[in-house]
Amino acid sequence: MNMIFILFAVLLGGALLTFFSNKVSGLLRDIFFLLTVLAAGVFFYLFIKKGDTVSFSLAGLNLQWGLNAFGWYFSLIVLGLSTLAAFYALAYMRGKERLGYFYFNFLVSILSMLGILMSRDLVSFFVFWEIMTWSSYFIVIYNGKNVQRNGINYIIFSTIGAYAMLTAIVLVYTNTDSLIISDMITSYPQFTPVLQIFVPILFLMAFSVKAAMMPLHVWAPDAYSNSPMAYSSVFSGALSKMGIYGMIIVFVTMISYLPDSTWFKEIFAWLGAITAIMGTLWAVSQDDARKLLAYSSIAQLGYIITGVAIGTELAMLSALFLAVLHGLFKGALFMAVGAIERQTGTVNFTEVTGLIRKMPWTFIASLLAIIALAGIPPLGGFVGKWMLYESLINSNHYILVIAIFFASTAAFLYCYKFLFGFFLGQEEKEWEHVKEAPALMVVPMMILAIGTVVLGTFPGIILKPADIAMQSLGYAPTEGHLWSMSVLFNEWGDQVLLKPLVYAIAGIFLFFLILLTVKGWKTMRYVTTKDISSSGEVPLEDENLTFSINFFQPFMRAAGPVMKKRMITYYREFGKAIDILFDFTRRIYNGNGQTYAIYVMIFLVILLLLKNNLFG
């Protein structure tokens, strides 16, 4: 029996065991859950080699599963993040209801993501895609709150995407008579010009829904923010990357064969940039941490989409790097929000403040993750941003680079809001009882955060598999002329040597920190956040002086004009218009026999009038 079958059997069996052992005992269920995730990871990396394929026939369809370097690269994100999130979930979900249901869907969505990465034919790709949609949908509605709004939005958009994909698959099948993806790719240049445009557009529709690209992102803020945070980290960090995975394949294997593909790429790159800008602006205006991170995910995926659409070596490299990095820091941030939610019971910036001394480890993890998100050296985010900018400048996208730059500068605002809202500001008596989250929650997010630190100095760790993955897509090897272990180059030969820069930053920081600490050590003292210079007044214990409501009001005023209309209002208006149309059509059937007789008469008259034209 092939190893790939065993992997899926392990995951599915583990999921079922977890689900049914829930009835027996909670401990057993947890053990099964963890064992399944770990076993899948170990099994995947030990026994499944790049290049393994297995073909079989099911219900008259030729199916093919296998793993290539490109899928293997994305499996790093899926399995790495899922394993850490699984540990986190054990602590986070403790004491909640319907855990069997949650864990089952968690495992099934891991299975479906691995399935997507290993599908070599369109049918199993579609089936796994649908399994992924449904398993994530079940987790989105797990809370049972606002199911109508969160769940229906998500499933409707996913369904639109799925139909688009199905149409594309049928189109491909009728034209090539084969469902194997490689057959589709080889015969794509022989398609008719109309089909050459429609097939990728239909596929991209499906993928952009998952990658939450404007204007198909409407489901994302609610869906990301309403699933349990243990799953949100996987949802935003790994599951949305499946959209990127598909997009890269479509762009590399189809769009680049279009006779005039530049405009297509430009449109997509700009859609990515607009997604980034609007996602960032909306993230800045949120007061709910989960919503903020959800919009931030949309924005970050916007950068990746831009990189994918540009499609030069450096741009693709940066997109792949940012995909991993986004998994790392957004995973850590969602976990941190989950920890805060669990310890304080709220995730609203206007309510909870001053947790830095109570939850130091969560603070450090979110600080590192936020620095990576903002793209500030010496952490990993900078590497991805640098490559993206340089690739845009090198490939003559001058206005696009400004748009991306605007988005990533405005991202500082919500980065600061996240850290300030939760951890800094006045320490209130209300939150005095708060304790640090259990180690099972802190350790996974620390591991993710430390990952961003390591990648900041040694991006080669991830760029190497990314390079191999790109080679499997037909790119030339880039090691040595675009990157090496800790050096980055652009296409003009300018370089950033990360190692000395990081050491210099650390050296300067340590020197001045030591200076600040040693100088006047004896007469330095800590004062509480109530002991502030507020015009000689002593704030009372219960007086909350934290500034957290309307945090970026002046900026929102300045950026207001572009945020007047939300995408969802357009969809609502579209829905209303459809409603009116149907309402009008309905009036034809008014239940009066006389009217129907007149319809028949009019129809006959029209037939007679057009007789010559129609039947002549």
Binding site: I356, P377, I393, T409, F412, L413, A504, I505, L545, A558
Partner: protein
């Protein structure tokens, strides 16, 4: 080992130079302000007294570890940008880290410090600090746009992202980039008004409304490190402008003359200006400066 020593030595010498020049400039700007207001003003070395006094304050308070570290973050930005920006033409001075980072690295390291300091200011719990920080970050989003546009225009016109290369191009052709790319220079100078935070863009400190904003809880040694980092950073930024727009400098005197002329732009503009509200400031940068930035990019792309 020898390499590290050389880097350290270069860093120290550059730092001391930047510190002295920067602090002197702050003193001179006070004299200029005083003369405009028909006063005599303090002596030019007044700010050395201020800095030394702050350093020799006996006691100090902090509101927690982030507040304690905040000024050190600020110093990282100041010193790192000083090390990356070449101080004199043609490697006649320490090369420091000139060849290790490029303009995009510089843009990002320049916001490292303000963000780190913002975290420190946030931990004080003083509402004025937090308000000042939100204003400052909004303003960064404002002026970074024309600033980056100017830099991108230079990058695409000369097909390089390295500062040293831009300087070499000027040395070879003998033409300053402020004349060959005038729109980029105008956009960059307008962005500089926001970078230096003199009026009308002094919305972050705003002593009358915010009690000096993010710095309101910093005294003694913390304020000392902040002030010196401000001086060093100001010198580094001015040197960058001289390097990429005004042909660099071959010796200290030319550098001081050029940087001082540049420095007077925000100072003199500030003396006669009131203060903007935050959204006015942000919109100012998204208006004319951005238009000039666009013109610069158009010029670089099509001419």
């Amino acid at each position: 080992m020898g390499e590290i020593l050389q880097y350290t030595w270069g860093a120290i010498v550059s730092f001391v130079l930047a510190f002295f020049v920067g602090i002197t400039y702050m003193g001179l700007s006070r004299i200029v302000t005083a003369r405009v207001q028909n006063r005599i003003g303090p002596p030019w070395y007044q700010n050395f007294f201020d800095v030394f006094k702050l350093f020799s304050k006996d006691t100090s308070i902090h509101h927690g570890i982030m507040h304690h570290m905040g000024p050190a973050f600020m110093m990282v930005t100041a010193v790192m940008s000083l090390l990356i920006i070449p101080i004199f033409n043609g490697g006649s001075f320490f090369t420091n880290l000139n060849f290790h980072g490029d303009l995009i690295f510089l843009i990002y390291i320049m916001v490292f410090g303000p963000l780190g300091m913002a975290l420190g200011a946030g931990q004080t719990g003083n509402p004025n600090s937090a308000i000042g920080v939100t204003r400052g970050l909004s303003q960064i989003v404002g002026f970074e746009i024309p600033w980056v546009m100017a830099l991108v225009a230079l990058m695409i016109q000369y097909k390089t992202t390295s500062i040293v290369d831009l300087m070499n191009i000027q040395a070879e052709t003998g033409k300053w980039l402020m004349f060959t790319s005038p729109f980029a220079f105008i956009a960059a100078v307008l962005a500089m008004l926001g970078m230096f935070r003199y009026a009308p863009f002094d919305i972050v400190g705003a002593p009358q409304e915010l009690a000096s904003g993010p710095m309101s809880e910093n005294g003694g040694k913390y304020l000392f490190v902040m002030m010196s980092s401000g001086a060093v950073f100001a010198f580094a930024k001015l040197t960058l402008y001289v390097d990429i727009f005004m042909g660099g400098a071959n010796n200290l005197i030319i550098l001081v003359v050029k940087t001082f002329i540049l420095y007077m732009i925000p100072v003199l503009y500030g003396i006669v200006s009131p203060r903007y509200r935050t959204e006015q400031s942000v919109r100012f940068f998204w208006g004319w400066p951005t238009l000039f930035g666009l013109l610069a990019i158009l010029q670089a792309a099509f001419l």
